[in-house]
């Protein structure tokens, strides 16, 4: 098993004829991902590495039975591309671009919640189920198949942990780039139940950051629903605070929601294990495996 994607996933690449789409499309194919179609408006009828290109997502989906799409389109076209994929009822929509306007994502978020699609990203490296399939641009050589499920708001912290785990011979079930933006399509709470019910996943790693309340909401869920061990890193304790001139921010988050302290406090109450560094996460996972054996 694994979650979200595996060897049977049929993937569309929106923006396949663009520089990034072509470059990473080739790498996804080389990894073994079943890329079944590309979409670029106006380029339908052609092909890239033998993969047929369509003008619209709906045509691509009708012709190939695709059940996932990854968007290698520029930030300003990301919302339009996501809407098209949602409208074509693609179950999994992964958006990669950084600098997508937050108002665009707010629209995508609310439309997606009323649809059958799960949107991931933007500002995400994508999703990988090691040894099976990858949809995104992550450096796949550092990943190995195994029992640790990872979801992360930060790409770099995530790579670091995966690299250290793989070096210790500890593999991963599925690794998800949630993306670091203000409004991600999906977040920890969406993936926790999937990891909990996935037989391959034995340990769940959650890499959060300061800001927002997704970690606090995840903590509540973990407390009452998750039996598997959850290891958490919250980055940014000593990051500079944004200079806010207005009062609205202070009024909204008067209870401290968003700070690393508040997040860790909530997570501790949920029995999640808090790590201080990427290296400590790996040590905790080694200990967990040792205890189990």
């Amino acid at each position: 098993m694994s979650i979200l994607i595996d060897e049977s996933t049929k993937l569309i690449i929106q923006g396949i004829t663009g520089r990034e789409g072509t470059f990473h499309g080739e790498r996804m194919l080389a990894y073994g991902t079943k890329v079944v179609a590309g979409v670029t408006p106006g380029k339908g009828g052609g092909d890239v590495f033998g993969i047929p290109v369509f003008d619209t997502v709906r045509q691509a989906s009708e012709a190939t039975g695709a059940n996932a799409t990854v968007l290698f389109v520029p930030a300003k076209f990301t919302a339009a591309g996501a809407y098209e994929a949602i409208d074509a009822q693609i179950p999994l929509v992964i958006t990669i671009a950084e600098h997508v306007p937050v108002h665009d994502m707010m629209g995508v978020y609310h439309i997606a919640k009323k649809s059958s699609s799960l949107v991931i990203g933007p500002n995400s490296f994508g999703v990988i189920s090691p040894g099976k399939s990858k949809a995104g641009f992550m450096h796949d050589k550092i990943f190995t198949q195994g029992g640790v499920g990872i979801m992360s708001r930060s790409a770099t912290n995530c790579y670091e942990i995966v690299f250290l785990l793989t070096n210790q011979g500890i593999g991963q079930s599925t690794v998800i780039g949630i993306g670091g933006d203000m409004i991600p399509g999906s977040t920890f709470i969406d993936f926790l139940p999937m990891f909990e019910s996935d037989p391959q996943t034995k340990i769940i790693v959650t890499i959060g950051e300061i800001g927002g309340s997704d970690e606090e909401i995840a903590a509540e869920y973990i407390k009452s629903n998750i039996k598997k061990p959850v290891v958490v890193l919250i980055a940014g304790k000593n990051a500079p605070r944004g200079t806010s001139m207005g009062h609205a921010g202070a009024i909204v988050s008067e209870d401290g929601t968003g700070s690393a302290e508040k997040k860790e406090e909530k997570l501790r109450q949920s029995r999640a294990i808090i790590a201080e560094s990427t290296e400590q996460i790996v040590q905790i996972i080694k200990d967990l495996i040792y205890i189990k054996n």
């Binding site: 930030a75 300003k76 950084e98 600098h99 306007p101 937050v102 108002h103 707010m106 629209g107 978020y109 609310h110 439309i111 500002n123 992550m138 450096h139 708001r153 930060s154 790409a155 770099t156 912290n157 995530c158 790579y159 670091e160 690299f163 670091g180 933006d181 203000m182 409004i183 890499i207 950051e209 300061i210 800001g211 927002g212 309340s213 890193l233 980055a235 940014g236 304790k237 000593n238 990051a239 500079p240 605070r241 944004g242 200079t243 806010s244 001139m245 207005g246 009062h247 609205a248 921010g249 202070a250 009024i251 909204v252 008067e254 929601t257 968003g258 201080e276 560094s277 990427t278 290296e279």
Partner: protein, 390 residues
């Protein structure tokens, strides 16, 4: 966009925010902005005395810091203005002053629209007790502040305004004016990709008019491709020179602790935050961070190192690069290039992992003792601490 868990929004100065409000039909206190005291007489010729002068700086609480003064006539206004320009308030040099027509205020309300991350919706905040103590009001009389999530697919409807008026027993004579301001503010919020629009106070003046006396506006910096006027405003700002230099190379330079002698550079904000957390734990202070982004060539790395050390206070640079697509030997060659241009009193602790690591280590070894290589982030943090204590 987000970086370091905070928005890197463009924050508009009061005068610029008011320009936007006016453009959306929201009545604002009449005023002009000046950058030189000589311009005052000409600038205020259409304004009626008495005047209020307000420094235009990127900081809250300017009134309590002496940044707001009153003048009875044009002569006084000019005198006060010339004193204000060049003043240092909250470590910021005053470059612009807004001179406005003083109004008699009968009552002060508070109205804002903020992008609420928690609910992924716009949120409207209103209080009948507006003014400088609004945050205090939020703590002491929370029932005097209403927070309402707006469904972005629905937008603002009349009933929300009606609810606010009923809840606080507000005079219905102001309802139509308020409704128009409310709807226009939301329209501006959506059209301009704002993450915050705040009118405080929204004053009731003696002419029974609602008037925006002060405003704050934050615009999402990822949306500037569709807001040429805001981009132009940001480019006109007098920002940290290193931030501006870094932006030219698509680096993000983030000043952190002015007393810090260490800078951190990496290819992503998550790992930067982790490095800062670990270094801070050893008791050291990080002065700045630089996000290199992806695809670093040796020339770009050399530029990044030079920009970082242009801050004289920065003595140490901690670099952590996880190769991925970035080639380690390119990074190492960049560091060498930077050292060839000087930097005799600077030290770099560097941790590289990824493609062509062996070649990278050879290049770094050829630079000599000012470059210390580390096997991991924690190893690097340890070595940095040891070197600083030498």
């Amino acid at each position: 966009m987000m970086s370091f868990g905070v928005m890197t929004d463009v924050k508009l100065l009061e005068y610029k925010g008011k320009e936007l409000l006016e453009g959306y039909g929201i009545p604002v206190q009449k005023g002009v902005v000046v950058g030189s005291a000589q311009d005052v007489p000409g600038a205020i010729k259409d304004l009626k005395a008495p005047y209020v002068l307000k420094v235009q700086i990127m900081a809250g609480g300017r009134g309590k810091a002496g940044g707001i003064k009153f003048a009875d006539n044009g002569e006084d206004a000019q005198k006060i203005c010339s004193k204000m320009l060049g003043m240092v308030i909250k470590n910021i040099v005053v470059k612009k002053v807004l001179i406005a027509q003083k109004v008699d205020v009968l009552d002060e309300w508070y109205l804002s629209v903020i992008l609420d991350r928690q609910n992924k919706c716009p949120m409207v905040i209103f209080s009948p007790l507006g003014g400088v103590d609004i945050e205090e009001t939020a703590k002491t009389c929370p029932d005097k502040i209403i927070k309402t999530s707006i469904n972005p697919l629905l937008g603002i409807k009349d009933y929300t305004a009606r609810y606010i008026f009923k809840k606080y027993n507000l005079d219905n004579a102001y309802f139509e004016q308020f409704l128009a301001i409310f709807k226009n503010l939301y329209r501006l919020f959506s059209d301009y990709d704002a993450t915050l629009l705040e009118i405080n106070p929204l004053a009731i003046t003696d002419g029974s008019r609602l008037l925006a006396i002060d405003c704050k506006a934050d615009i999402d910096d990822s949306s500037l491709f569709r807001h040429a006027d805001i981009l132009e405003f940001r480019n006109s700002l007098d920002e940290n020179e290193l931030v501006v230099s870094a932006r030219k190379f698509n680096f993000l330079y983030i000043p952190i602790d002015a007393g810090g002698d260490i800078a951190v550079a990496s290819n992503g904000s998550g790992i930067l935050m982790s490095c800062i957390d670990l270094i801070t734990k050893t008791g050291a202070k990080v002065g700045a961070a630089l996000d290199l982004g992806g695809g670093a060539t040796s020339e770009r790395i050399a530029e990044a190192v030079k920009i970082i050390f242009r801050n004289q206070k920065t003595k140490y640079l901690f670099i952590s690069i996880f190769g991925g697509i970035t080639r380690c030997d390119e990074v190492a060659a960049g560091v060498k290039l930077a050292f060839q241009s000087g930097l005799s009193d600077k030290t770099i602790v560097i941790r590289l992992e990824g493609t062509n690591k062996a070649a990278a280590l050879e290049i770094l070894a050829s630079i000599g003792g000012r470059v210390i290589t580390a096997e991991s982030i924690s190893d690097g943090v340890k070595k940095l601490k040891t070197r600083r204590n030498d």
